[in-house]
Symmetry: D2
Subunit: 378 residues, 4 copies
């Protein structure tokens, strides 16, 4: 962290900052320019009372230098970072194999979810997803999920999807909306909790999830900067919880054609530069256009995702929610097949990926020579 003093700050103010930082246990350094003085703060600034410092007289602003999301961040050698694996029941994400989580937008009935589970299993996907509480943007949409009316209905709804998952040996991923419901999800045998986009910044819910042993897929809010999102993920991980999966599902932009703008640049940044956590991509919400789910899911894998979330339905024409983006069974089959091939290609082409760090020394040694070659007149 750097403290930038205002151009009219007094010497006394500069010393007061310095003294306060030392009192807080930090070492400092100073750069005294012609117009402004900068004070560098060394050490673990995640515990620095930044607002107090920013408020002190003479301070213009704080300039962050290092990352504030310690747990969600990439660790280890930059050329060979440590990658976390997160288990959804017996299915391991973030490891050698691509993981596909598929299923209907919502659990509609026992025969529907049972048939959906069969479809998911037959496609070769690994986990079953399905919403039990499905509040919609319009409160008048009618269908809000089997489990929206009370705790009993929620228990029954969760039971149905867990039953279907067990029948086909598929661990289940279900969205959670209310912090009070965590025990019910744990008790009924849900394998993984999902935080949906509308709740990406729901602090009460995120705080509550620190305590559950279940893995959490935490979807990125649609207005969160790449790193700001990691700071919200950090809220779940702050007390030591480790089994969190990142998920890109689209942000808001100038686009009106697709439902959201799937940000694969951030997917690549998560995987290659910022975090060691497994990264999921959800092209169903990311495009909102059924026929774009195929190319965008594959693109997401190539960009860096190792987990795929996708909506599919035994007959999306009669789905009670989001059917317009749910794949037909044949489409799911095609997608899982292609996703596997693309995953292999990503692993193969990885041998052609050369990071800048690996080349810098070589080209540094040639700078003088290359300058002479390219600009012989200087």
């Amino acid at each position: 962290m750097i403290v930038k003093m205002s151009s009219i700050a007094t010497e006394a103010e500069i010393q007061a900052i310095d003294a306060r930082l030392h009192a807080l246990g930090y070492k400092t350094g100073k750069m005294i320019g012609e117009q402004v003085t900068l004070i560098g703060v060394y050490g673990d600034i995640s515990r620095l009372p930044t607002e107090e410092i920013a408020q002190m007289p003479g301070v213009e602003r704080l300039i962050p230098i290092s990352r504030a999301y310690k747990r969600a961040a990439q660790k280890g050698d930059p050329l060979n970072p440590v990658r976390a694996t997160v288990a959804i029941g017996p299915v391991v994400t973030g490891g050698d194999d691509l993981v596909v989580v598929a299923g209907p937008c919502s659990v509609e009935s026992e025969p529907q979810i049972m048939e959906a589970a069969r479809m998911v299993k037959e496609s070769g996907a690994h986990c079953l997803r399905g919403g039990v509480v499905k509040y919609r943007s319009s409160p008048y949409s009618g269908w809000e999920g089997l489990g929206s009316s009370d705790q009993d209905s929620l228990r029954r709804g969760l039971g149905l999807i867990v039953k279907a998952g067990r029948a086909f040996e598929l661990p289940t991923v279900v969205e959670i909306l209310d912090p009070a419901d965590v025990p019910l999800y744990e008790d009924t045998g849900v394998a993984c909790l999902q935080v949906g986009e509308p709740n990406s910044k729901n602090q009460a819910l995120l705080n509550r999830l620190r305590d559950t042993p279940l893995p959490v897929i935490h979807k990125r809010g649609n207005s969160l900067d790449t790193e700001a999102y990691l700071l919200w993920v950090e809220r779940v991980m702050a007390l030591g919880k480790e089994n969190v999966i990142l998920c890109e599902r689209g942000i808001t932009s100038c686009n009106r054609y697709t439902r959201n703008t799937l940000d694969l640049g951030s997917v690549a940044a998560f995987h290659y530069q910022l975090s060691g956590l497994p990264v999921a991509v959800d092209a169903s919400h990311g495009t909102g256009v059924r026929d774009l789910v195929f190319p965008l899911t594959l693109a997401g894998i190539v960009a860096g995702a190792s987990v795929v979330l996708v909506e599919a339905h035994p007959n999306p024409l009669i789905a009670k929610s989001d059917g317009f983006q749910g794949l037909f069974p044949e489409q799911l089959n095609g997608l899982v097949k292609a996703a596997r091939e693309v995953w292999q290609v990503r692993k193969t082409t990885a041998r052609d990926y050369v990071s800048t760090l690996a080349l810098e020394r070589t080209y540094e040694a040639r700078m003088q020579e290359d300058r002479r070659r390219f600009f012989p007149q200087g």
Copy 2:
């Protein structure tokens, strides 16, 4: 609602849609173009199973014609709309008088909130605001409010601000984050609940607020379109709750200088065209720059707001949260004084506001004549 059929839809598909709509109790109309057929659906479409229809074979997409937020919408004669008033304790918003809600970002101690209440009262503001649970974007910021640890701490924190408010006859506005906490807010005497931006789409919380008699200030999420936000407000109002106050506090955009982009175009649209509910403007979060709160609050009033939310602190230099945007007491005094003058000017200049509807007939009658005048050669 209009159902646009695909260019390759069959006649049987078109008839199937028509039949289904009739079965649902709707009247329909048809337009048969050279390439596509459109089916119009008449009546209250808020109960229409839109996804089912959108899924039916041959349908390309649904095109909405009228608004889906019936309760949050403007009612009455367009030239003389019905305006709702919402009471925060004895203070009436949406009526003849501007209402200023001021106070610190968070309740920090009894002496601090008591002094803050005195400051607010002396400035001429009408309500006291202050957060008791103050989760921050970084989980490491340290201070998360007096009431964040458990229900007892929350009760004590709420008690402090209510006590301070009563000492200075100021009803209190406090943010709520967890649906389970509603009874505690009601019991301790909080006058108005606030839904913060991170929870603008928190369905579990919004659903729970349908039942409380307390008024709710529902802040707009920073990626919500003007009308999409009203649909989320509708979620609180869906079962008949009426005392809701809209609040614009800034959206996300290309801007990096201000913390958010205060969208006063939407404030004007809420007030003049879309809704009869009182509109609040929060320039503290809308700019995140203390010295811009003054001009933007005044601009917000001119644009259409009748409620002002503003952060101020007896000494923001020692505030535990968001002090950088909290006004100094002298600034709050200046703002409330200026806000009153601007409010009077808005009421005065309102006589110069002429809506298009009022003029259309006049200029319609002159169209032929004006065409001849301006384009004598035709």
Copy 3:
């Protein structure tokens, strides 16, 4: 196009609209709902004076139904659309082969561009890119390209890259900024003109490009909606010009980590749904992070691009502009190699892509049966 009348429109106003549309040569249809009347306009609405109609008394707004970009649009059978090929010299884009356009941000000297051309050729790429006029966002950056001072310098600069391209049999792609420069680009032998993002909506330039026989790569402006961009492309194509290549190079969003947000959802939409033109992806500007160019370029190919633009430099450490995003030669080699493998996989996995249109009839026929299966109680 649908004309939505206001709820207080008079019968005379509705008839006036209808009469005016008929006078303009359109057929119309009417839907008379309980609250509003809709008038449908049939025929080629690209010539409809929309503003005049929108202005007519009683009209609330116009609702577009079909696309206004006729030339840039996809043509043919939706399941088997017509795809255009565009030639850059002897290199054919939009056909069976992936085309890679590579080179430095700017032409810096004859030895530099000659070495760059060698690097491009050896990597296996097909065209050479390089800027001759390189105005930057800051006017103080110093380097603004070899050709920025006058027409002579521009001619010399263009001559250098064309010479280098010819030496290695690489047609050249160069950005153009001023409509007055078109003849110079044509005369010096540039093979393809590029419209950069800052000029995506530069009407004087776009109009001028209608007349040149050279192909044009028209980059999408960073705040243009998917389809709004196609309308700007249409400006170049309006009088019959056909050899235009679309290019996605990143839009503005909440992201701050990457320089722009590469919108691969729009790439897929262009290729699969909206246009038959070749689609290029520029991950150099799309990410602005050298180490993310590899994964995002590959992802762009999978999403639907058949042309790759990429910045590379014989030694980016001494590049005069945008070196931070320019690839090292080894990185370019790796990228071209991997891009070819990914291109093959895209062609292979295309067999698994199943469009909704192909399945709709099947699942339509099962709707009743599936409803009974999934909801036996009704």
Copy 4:
């Protein structure tokens, strides 16, 4: 500027940076933290070859500390900044009086612009605006302005608006699109050039405007950050040109109800914190909704604008372009009247504006005492 070294940078690399900076004439300072070393660069960094430095081995990134738009920036004492005035003919902007620039979207005929000028004069506005070349987003809109076909038509069109302006003693403001047209605008007597939003980053045009003595209204591009826009303004001012007027006309955001999002926070930032140039607000394009122009123009004045751009037409129902946002004459009269009152109120309420700088010392002196008062237990 601060150079942040990578955590794996070698001592030799650090010294190489330092040596290069010294060779370039800069003084430097160093902060050596536990993980990273920072090098501060002192002096006028507007001439620093930032990319070369950013490229040097061991450098992670450059962190800007001070502003790069020297000419467009605010000058003088922060509490009493120097404000520039810019003359449009005899009309002075940025001074004691509000300036209203009004007129139709486009010059349509001599009688139309003459009548428009009369309307503008009678309303009390000060300058006449009107487009002569009016390219639209769709190339098929038909009407593209009187002057779009060739230089002769352009000369005639410019002549018409200048004639109308002179008849009513109104200097004229006309948009320019092609750098080649500058002499024609100068010769025909146009008083002020306007750069429209689509050309906000048109470098060839901006460079050309450095040479004209005419004042320039440079509209902000709809995806430009507040300060990034000032850097584009700087391009016009780079060689010493001073008579430039800033203009906010709306940015792109999540909003779909208004045509653009008028960013009054940036208007206030320009006026109060970043620049001494006059600031214009264009609520016609900023909202695209005729009935919102009134409240948003007034709000813009309160926020910090001293120039108002507004579209009005003698009969907008027959306007050939953008009539939907053009005011009726009565609306223009009402707006100018109200704008004057609001301008007076802004000047009056300015006495209540207290900047943080003026208060910091007072509250600094009370920090210890206030800490003891508010937190007696420590």
